[in-house]
């Protein structure tokens, strides 16, 4: 079986964010992911691209979906995968992030996948290790593989990204998914809207390439893709929005609000969903929903990212 290889040269040693990637870089990763989908759909799902390599999943924040997606991606490419979650690490005992990085580095991993609650933590760690680093989400900063899997899902369903109107709705303020998606989709020529109440809208987001809409009706007008974001429970009791019932009434995606978008608009959600808060169950499970497909694309995109970074590993 053939290795998963970049169609064009991928020049980056780490994947820390969408920021810094060119349109060509993104397209390269998406094209590789298309091949990875085929790998995952076969009975024999193994490739030798990362054979002998060690991949560490270092998750300072709990995550089921992203961690298992990276784990499967690594294993399907033949790597040895080790999962480290904060609960069993020495970080709980007071070790600093840099000490953790130095310790792990001494174990000679080839790729570390990192999730951390603080923006910039993954960048800091990347400076202290010799291996490749993949950002699996740092605070409210970036979540590049989520944006890539969203782009792949859109491209496979709409045939293109350029010229599409994508409405990203909800808690933009706290969302790394929104930031990475705004950067990626605008780089590929989509028209991106950030839709949500002012209390959940970060100042200056319009300079990152998103048109700001503060009501869902204008936000969904002529949208081809409606991407809903998760609203954390602790943020819906008065600090940012008054209540979950008010949020659902004005910003939750139901059939009526989806009606403002283009006919046949597709619905996405990075998960995990709050049904009845940001999205109606009928929509989440309905014919316009791509939510389950997004999960499949997640594994493919992560295989593509790991394979692309493998090109630069020592002795690669």
């Amino acid at each position: 079986m053939s290795d998963l290889r970049p169609t064009q040269k991928f020049r980056h040693r780490h994947l820390l964010g969408i920021e810094g990637l060119s349109a060509a870089d993104i397209v390269t990763l998406l094209d590789m992911a298309e091949d990875a989908i085929e790998v995952s759909r076969q009975i024999e799902k193994k490739r030798a691209t990362l054979r002998g390599r060690t991949l560490i999943n270092l998750f300072f924040e709990a995550s089921t979906r992203t961690q298992s997606s990276f784990e499967l991606a690594g294993k399907r490419l033949g790597a040895d995968v080790m999962n480290m979650s904060v609960a069993m690490s020495s970080v709980k005992k007071g070790e600093t992030l840099i000490d953790t990085a130095v310790t792990l580095n001494a174990m000679r991993p080839d790729i570390i996948v990192v999730r951390h609650a603080q923006a910039g933590a993954v960048h800091l760690l990347a400076k202290k290790v010799d291996c490749a680093v993949v950002n699996a989400g740092d605070g409210a900063h970036e979540h590049p593989t989520q944006a890539l899997l969203d782009a792949l899902t859109i491209r496979r369903n709409k045939g293109r990204i350029e010229g599409l109107t994508v409405a990203i709705c909800g808690d933009i303020l706290h969302s790394r998914v929104a930031r990475s998606n705004i950067l990626l989709l605008s780089t590929l020529g989509a028209h991106v809207r950030a839709v949500g109440p002012s209390t959940l809208m970060p100042v200056g987001i319009e300079h990152m390439g998103a048109e700001v809409c503060r009501d869902i009706k204008s936000g969904l007008q002529n949208a081809d893709i409606v991407m809903m974001l998760r609203l954390q429970r602790e943020r819906m009791s008065g600090a940012f929005v008054p209540s979950s019932r008010e949020y659902f009434r004005f910003f939750g995606l139901d059939a009526e609000k989806l009606g403002y978008a283009n006919k046949g608009a597709l619905v996405m959600h990075p998960g995990p969903m709050n049904r009845g808060v940001e999205i109606d169950s009928g929509i989440a499970d309905g014919p316009q929903s791509l939510i389950r497909e997004q999960v499949e694309m997640g594994v493919a995109v992560r295989m593509a990212v790991l394979a692309a970074l493998a090109e630069h590993l020592p002795n690669g």
């Binding site: 209390t199 008065g238 008054p242 019932r245 008010e246």
Partner: protein, 439 residues
């Protein structure tokens, strides 16, 4: 007590003729009448006269009295729910009708507070069933008026709340205020805020100064109002929310409002009838009916407020109607409750400023009708064809002495007891129906 009666038969045209029409929106005064059909003003001016009316129309000769739009009071406590011993919607609106007030904005600091759509609905139903004039609920800015969490502004607005306020409580936390303003702005909601820094006001019970010192009472500095207002103005500039300073009482605040308006910010302001017509010296011998929030200020501050009203810098006059039963007022000054009733005396007291030549009559009426209507986006509050026939008739010169026992409010804590007044309302109409006629 005089009970409001209904004089017009449905669909029968009704005309107030031979009056002095004061249109606050344009500042114009004309001789003539107003023709009302189906609760709406259909014609007005010199052409509306007894001789020109259709034969089936009812005509009321106003004998040269003023005909003006019914007053809109942006701040009154109506007692319901939870304080029916102080006031009810029935008694508050009876007082309003007798005072020429045809629309009341009800304060949200009731028990329970107006922070639930169901309470807005309750108020609207009670007003429909027991009220003599229009009652519009103001809902809470923050849950429980606690100043911590954003209230359900969207759902409350859908239920019928016309503005949002934490009543007499100032919102202390600037981050909460910023978020509340940003959220309200998205819904086009009007934020009404009463600014008094609670920390700086401290234990104060009256205006800080010589008079408080002589009385041995703790003072509240004027800066307590101005500092909070300055903060709010900066947050308005940040968020773009429509903001109404609910009750200002100092020159410092006027300067801040002037600067904000010059800068084009969406800011309006009100003062109370008490702060325009009384000063701290009226407290005299510890008169608790004059214990108000914000406190009555010195005479030079009062005069500055009157000048600002005359020039239009102050948009609105409120009654700040706050009924208190005798037991909570018959206490040492520092322990007595704040507040005075005012719905029934607002116009008479305001006419003092007209009689003294400080304020023109249309300007006074505008601050109690057309300006509130503009700020709230209401169709009433103006003399115009097509507007609801909320009308009042009064003789601005008629002298009387105020007898608190004749007032309709359930509580009698008026600062104007036994005061000589000039000008009282003879007829009040809501949507063409008479709700008050003097004997």
């Amino acid at each position: 007590m005089q009970t409001p009666s209904t004089m017009a038969i449905a669909h029968q045209p009704l005309a107030l003729v031979n009056g002095r029409l004061v249109d606050p929106a344009t500042g114009k005064e004309t001789r003539g009448g107003v023709l009302v059909i189906d609760g709406v003003i259909r014609d007005l001016g010199a052409s509306v006269a007894s001789a020109t009316l259709p034969s089936h129309a009812q005509a009321i000769d106003c004998a040269g009295d003023v005909i003006a739009p019914g007053l809109i009071d942006m701040c009154a406590f109506v007692g319901e729910p939870g304080a029916a011993h102080r006031e009810t919607i029935a008694t508050a609106t009876a007082a309003a009708a007798a005072g020429g007030v045809t629309t009341i904005l009800a304060r949200p600091d009731t028990n329970p507070p107006v922070d639930e759509p169901a309470v807005v609905d309750f108020l609207l139903r009670r007003a429909r069933d027991t009220g003599h004039v229009r009652v519009l609920p103001v809902a809470a800015l923050t849950k429980g008026l606690k100043g911590l969490e954003i209230a359900e502004i969207g759902l409350l607005q859908e239920a019928g709340a016309v503005a949002f306020s934490d009543a007499a409580k100032s919102l202390r936390n600037a981050q909460v205020m910023r978020r509340v303003m940003a959220y309200a702005r998205d819904f086009g909601a009007l934020v009404i805020h009463y600014t008094e820094d609670p920390d700086l006001a401290g234990e104060g019970v009256m205006n800080e100064g010589e008079f408080a010192t002589r009385l041995g009472l703790t003072g509240i500095p004027r800066e307590a109002e101005a500092i909070m207002l300055d903060r709010d103005i900066r947050l308005v500039a940040l968020t773009g929310v429509r903001y109404h300073a609910g009750l200002i009482s100092t020159k410092m605040s006027l300067d801040a409002i002037r600067a904000a308006k010059t800068a084009g910010l969406p800011i309006t302001c009100a003062t109370s009838i008490n702060h325009l017509t009384l000063n701290e010296n009226d407290i005299g011998d510890y008169r608790t009916f004059l214990k108000l929030t914000p406190p009555l200020r010195a005479e030079d501050e009062r005069r500055a407020l009157v000048e600002a009203l005359a020039e239009g810098l102050i948009d609105v006059i409120v009654s700040d109607h706050n009924p208190q039963d005798v037991e909570t007022k018959r206490l040492p000054f520092a322990e007595a409750e704040y507040g005075a009733i005012g719905l029934e005396t607002m116009l008479s007291a305001g006419l003092r400023l007209v009689h003294s030549g400080e304020v023109k009559l249309p300007r006074l009426i505008a601050a109690m009708s057309s300006r509130p209507a503009e700020i709230l986006g209401l169709p009433q509050g103006r003399l115009a064809v097509g507007a609801p026939a909320d009308l009042i008739r009064f003789d601005p010169d008629e002298p009387y002495v105020l007898d608190p026992m004749q007032l309709h409010s359930r509580s009698k804590n008026t600062p104007f007891d036994e005061a000589k007044m000039q000008g009282r309302v003879k007829l009040t109409m809501v949507a063409g129906q008479a709700v008050w006629e003097s004997a």
